[in-house]
Symmetry: C2
Subunit: 119 residues, 2 copies
DNA sequence: CTGATGCTTAAGCAATCACTTTATCATTCC
DNA sequence: GGAATGATAAAGTGATTGCTTAAGCATCAG
């Protein structure tokens, strides 16, 4: 059909958790270290690391370690691809609506008195 | 921050499963009964029903029962809202890129030879 | 070297998930 | 009425999730 990439699994799964979405939103403001990411979150550092690992597996976030601090940043490419999946679904749906509209249009012209409420 | 609606939890969670995405994609082509949805899927009908329940809870799908057949259809509104969350993230990120660019632009003009560490 | 800081690993645990099978219920067809 | 059809409800199960605590490693400041 439209799309069955396993990467979508990982991305949607990653975004399904409010903690991870908060991390993503934090990263839209710019890169951050692990502890900076963890600071506003009501959980232990290891827990944040696990969330981070999931975000990295999905490709939403990349990170590199310099000295003893790991710096994380958003990768909008995956964000874009995910957005595209949704818009494609909407597009297909709208396309069908258009075709439906066209059908009723034709029906209305060929049988002007038929009860086709809903244009 | 940007968005912390619990509905996003449900929607992303719903879309995280390939079976449920397949159901959504099927529904972009038009309404379908439960068994029509189940037909291409390699699992029992009750399993499909459970997936459907999750899709309905998220608001992605609505359904009504007429006689003994339940007809399901996509609700693009939630799809649209989810898409918006992602595009807002990208927008914030791009906005930061722009500001960064402007900063370096200014820095380059005002102090053409300076090391550009922090204002 | 010594201690503080930042991150990482490992193990454990309760809750949730994605199914299954079995048993009903309600509607339509003959 | 009685069988076939479409959809549900209920209970059980193994795997996964989202944490925790405790311990360990690497880097940096004094």
């Amino acid at each position: 059909m439209l799309n069955q990439k396993p990467s979508l699994d990982l991305t949607f799964q990653a975004l399904a958790d409010p903690t991870r979405r908060a991390m993503v939103e934090r990263l839209t403001l710019g890169p951050a270290s692990v502890s900076e990411l963890a600071q506003p979150l009501p959980m232990s550092l290891p827990a944040v690391m696990q969330h981070l690992a999931i975000l990295e597996q999905s490709g939403l976030v990349r990170s590199q370690k310099i000295g003893r601090v790991r710096t994380c940043q958003l990768d909008v490419q995956v964000l874009r691809a995910t957005e595209q999946f949704l818009s494609q679904c909407r597009f297909a749906w709208n396309h069908r609506m258009d075709r439906l509209g066209a059908f009723f249009e034709v029906a209305r012209v060929e049988r002007p008195h038929a009860g086709t409420d809903g244009r």
